[in-house]
Amino acid sequence: LLMVSKNFEQTIPFREIRDSSGNPIFDVNGNPIWLPLVTVTIIAPIGSRISLSLYFDTGASVTTLRSEFYPLLGLRSWNEGVRRQTSTGSDTIDVYQYTISMEVFGKTIECPIYLNNRMPAHPFFSGLLGRETIYKEFGFGFWEKIHELYVTPNP
């Protein structure tokens, strides 16, 4: 039998969230909160490059940014794209879909993106990195115990 090994070329450490005193913040089960945050570079229509942090969310079908980011995409308003509906924890809401160029994990890809006006602001991440396109372009491995995400651009 021919055996092929798949290697992960990149390691993305999760980020432990701490309060202003430097103490860990705990979830409802008493475990420290570690977030899989990924920095991506958005290539604006005028060619400039801007980096953002996104939450690597396996439950998100499409990469999503808060609606306030519409100027970064060269838009005049957040809701001029293709209207879609998506489910949140307890609701179904309208989002608007666009296509962006994005550098992530060492590759430049064209990726669908939703703008969502129901997503609260957070200093550590500006949106969610979802499955669409991302899962086709990369292979992923999680090691929850040691809080690391592994990535290969050659799945």
């Binding site: 039998l1 920095t39 604006a44 400039s48 980096s51 439950g59 949140t88 602001a121 500006s126």
Partner: protein, 149 residues
């Protein structure tokens, strides 16, 4: 049929057993399952599995801390690290503002994103984020199955 017990801990050893016809594919899958090794058979008949090779207790924890300190930190991690370490000061100075970070420094701050984008047009690839006025609420039910803390 004789299977070396060590093979039950080594997926590659198990697969090698199949290559010489010593055990059936069904037995291989059974062994993988008993070993807690996740596997998947593709429609083409390929067997995919993943496993980690771990050298436990490679170094004491104290030494691990030292070795990990010396590890190069990817730039993207470094930016978040700096933001995290300086968040109190940044919130004090820039609450309610969009900020841009470059080379471990806030290089621009603005009330609106268009204003910030104008200010940072001269920089290549700054990191931007918004610093909310209100305290961060760790409740992620806003979208798409993010768990609630």
């Amino acid at each position: 049929m004789t299977i070396n017990i060590s093979n039950t801990q080594n997926p590659q050893g198990i697969i090698s057993s199949v290559s010489i016809g010593s055990i059936s594919p069904e037995d291989v899958l059974d062994l993988l399952g008993k070993g807690g090794i996740e596997y998947y058979i593709t429609v083409e008949g390929d067997l995919m599995f993943k496993y980690w090779q771990i050298y436990e207790n490679f170094v004491p924890k104290e030494q691990a801390a030292i070795l990990r300190t010396g590890q190069p930190v990817p730039e993207q991690v470094d930016r978040l690290e700096w933001l995290s370490n300086n968040l109190d000061n940044i919130r004090r100075d820039h609450s309610g503002h969009w900020i841009a970070i470059l080379n471990n420094e806030v290089v621009a701050s603005a009330v609106t994103l268009p204003d910030l984008l104008t200010q940072i047009a001269k920089y290549d690839n700054p990191f931007i984020t918004f610093i909310p006025v209100e305290s961060v609420v760790w409740d992620f039910t806003f979208a798409y199955g993010i768990q609630k803390f």
